[in-house]
């Protein structure tokens, strides 16, 4: 199984970029919309003042003695005064003939308001006319009034600045929101990831916690995958159990019959045959058992599950269970060291390793000898099993733990030789090691050490 995943792009980056980009475009649009509206409103203000001013000028026109008389009212100009001291120009025409003012201001028919360039600056012009009817006179007075736009552009600049600040604020807020929204969304994925990662290797139950609607299909497929995995795992476990059952039950039958027959038969040849039969059954069932143990050890070591255990208690339990068998051989099994040796490891694996070590010692122990198990916490947690047997052949001590290898002096002892291999696998899975030594006073010692 490969742990690497091909990564293409990032959902988080994509989401953040999209949201921030959108916010930037929105902020720009907002800026331009508000600004153009402000320009329009400000222009309307200037226009209506210009219109009022020109109207008051036209109102001041009178006909006296058959001639047009126009006295420009002071108020017409005072209403045009601005904070920026904008300049004002005017031109008065009578029936199209220039009368007074600035001649370069042309009267435009039909278009009352215009913006044009005059003497180097933008001006807003308003054109208005009035038809005057006297005793025998009918004449048109046209006035063009222009004003520079300094105050207006000052106001507009100020508005633009404020709108820009507002736009930046809006953008910053939207960006922060998009980061938050992205984390919140991706957070759901992270949560799912954590809950998958934290699961023990045996836990193949479906996810029960509620997830957002959009993740439901993913979780649904995950659940169905786990369901299938669980099914196939339990199928193979059931298969192994079933196979073991099918093989071991008839073996048990044969063994029991052979033993029972052995009690009744007196002829020594027949007895010997029965003994060989029982011996062969023991050998095959032991080999099958160790192979299954080994497969199980390998599987569990690959998916090591650590529980908090007390090694002293774990060994004590094992010693209690093995005592009846040890007693039968007139051996003694004693455990040294008390108190507690806490360790985080797989109890089933460790028990299996220690059981195999004790099995080994029992096989090689001479009659009425002692097997001692010592549990120690320093320098590293470890369990040592010592016997008073012949010890390991000194030239083979290195190669003994290799799979299926048995010592030269083991020819007469039943066993498939997997015991030490199983113990070593367990030690390695826990970051420890298996040490074989011979005691100076005779006997073998095997130390199973673990690392924290």
């Amino acid at each position: 199984m490969s742990n690497s995943v091909e990564v293409s792009g990032s959902l988080r980056n994509r989401l953040v970029l999209t949201l921030i980009g959108g916010a930037a475009v929105l902020a720009m649009l907002l800026f331009f919309a508000v600004r153009s509206y402000a320009v329009q409103v400000a222009q309307q203000g200037q226009d209506s003042i210009l219109e009022a001013s020109v109207a008051s000028m036209l109102d001041a026109a009178t006909i006296r003695d058959g001639a047009v008389e126009l006295d420009l009212p002071y108020s017409a100009f005072s209403m045009l005064s601005t904070s920026a001291d904008d300049r004002v120009f005017y031109a008065i025409y009578q029936d199209g003939t220039f009368l007074s003012g600035y001649e370069d201001l042309a009267y435009s028919e039909g278009q009352p308001f215009e913006t044009q360039l005059m003497r180097g600056s933008d001006v807003r012009t308003v054109s208005a006319s009035r038809t005057m009817i006297g005793a025998d006179l009918r004449t048109d007075i046209q006035i063009v009034l222009a004003q520079t736009q300094d105050a207006l552009s000052e106001t507009l600049d100020q508005i633009s600045r404020n709108v820009a600040l507002f736009g930046i604020g809006f953008f910053a807020l939207a960006a922060a929101l998009s980061f938050w929204a992205t984390s919140a969304t991706i957070g759901q994925l992270d949560k799912l990831t954590i809950s998958v990662t934290r699961r023990g290797p045996q836990d193949l139950s479906p996810f029960a916690k509620p997830v957002p609607q959009e993740m439901a299909p993913l979780v649904k497929s995950l659940n169905s995958l786990m369901g299938r995995l669980d099914q196939s795992l339990s199928q193979s476990e059931d298969f192994i159990a079933e196979a073991a059952h099918r093989v071991r039950t008839p073996l048990a039958t044969v063994r029991s019959y052979a033993e029972a027959t052995l009690q009744r038969v007196d002829k020594e040849e027949n007895r010997e045959a029965m003994r060989s039969m029982v011996k062969a059954i023991d050998e095959s069932s032991r080999a099958a058992g160790q192979l299954l143990d080994h497969a199980m050890t390998t599987f569990r070591a690959d998916h090591l599950e650590r529980d908090d255990i007390d090694l002293v208690e774990l060994v004590a339990e094992l010693v209690q269970r093995l005592t009846p068998i040890v007693d039968m051989k007139d051996l003694t099994l004693t455990q040294n060291g008390d108190g507690q040796v806490p360790y985080a490891g797989d109890p089933i694996l460790i028990q299996s390793a220690v059981r195999n070590l004790i099995d080994n010692s029992m096989k090689y122990s001479p009659v009425e000898s002692a097997i001692t198990i010592t549990v120690a916490a320093d320098p590293a947690p470890r369990i040592t099993v010592c016997d008073q047997g012949p010890g390991f052949p000194s030239n083979e001590i290195e190669t003994l733990t290799a799979r299926f290898q048995r010592g030269a002096n083991a020819a007469t002892t039943i066993g498939s030789g997997l015991g030490l291999t199983i113990a070593q696998d367990v030690a390695l899975a826990h970051g420890g090691a298996l040490h074989l030594t011979n005691q100076p006073e005779g006997g073998a010692c095997v130390t199973l050490s673990f690392s924290h």
């Binding site: 192994i240 039958t253 007895r271």
Partner: protein
């Protein structure tokens, strides 16, 4: 001792039963959980030997029900499963011990005794012969009221003789009962144990007689 054996394989059940009857035990056999339930409702057993895979259910269900009821008959589970398998939850389910198939009868007996010893509340099954009392469950022997310490094999040897006083046991028969089949036993090994047993019995009115070329016999000397 009186056992209830719950095992669906008839061949195996017969083999176990006949082997245990040889040792003087009483065995009732139930083929399924239903029968087993009926048996324990009627009879009193000292121990139940329970198979896990049964035609009408899982032995562990029976175990759980048995523990939930107020019966406290000890249960030893007979399993074909691997020892490392974490599926051996029978101990958690209230079984007192388990043996994996195929098993050595001596081991099964040893486990039965260990379980009964732990449940020391049970009635004592003491064998008395002459000046000797012997409790096979606790493995305690007294000679003339004085306790004698013996090793396991000496105890088993004594029990064999006590169960059949006056019967002749050949050397081979005795060594088959005393040693497991994977042990290399010398011809004379049994003589060592007979010698020790004689020493333990000294001062009592029991005597082990050697019948040259035939075997040994326990005699009660009046």
């Amino acid at each position: 001792m009186k056992f209830l054996l719950v095992e669906d394989n008839l061949d195996l059940a017969n083999a176990i039963a006949s082997r245990m009857r040889q040792d003087g035990h009483i065995i009732d056999h139930a083929e399924n959980l239903g029968d087993a339930q009926a048996f324990i409702e009627v009879g009193e057993y000292e121990l139940i030997l329970l198979d896990i895979m049964l035609p009408d259910g899982d032995g562990r269900t029976f175990l759980a029900q048995h523990r939930a009821s107020d019966r406290d008959t000890p249960v030893i589970v007979l399993t074909a499963r691997s020892q490392v398998s974490d599926r051996i939850s029978s101990l958690d389910m209230g079984a007192d011990d388990y043996v994996t198939k195929p098993f050595d009868h001596a081991e099964l007996e040893a486990r039965c005794r260990a379980v009964l010893r732990r449940r020391s509340g049970n009635a004592k099954t003491t064998i008395e012969l002459g000046k000797i009392t012997f409790d096979p469950v606790s493995g305690q022997m007294t000679v003339d009221g004085r306790a004698v310490q013996m090793r396991n094999r000496e105890l088993r040897l004594l029990e064999l003789f006590l169960n059949a006083p006056g019967q002749i046991f050949s050397k081979n028969k005795l060594s088959d009962r005393l040693f497991s089949f994977d042990e290399d036993v010398s011809e004379n090994a049994i003589e060592v144990y007979i010698g020790r047993l004689r020493k333990h019995l000294s001062g009592s009115d029991l005597k082990i007689t050697t019948l040259r070329g035939i075997g040994y016999r326990l005699d009660h000397v009046e």
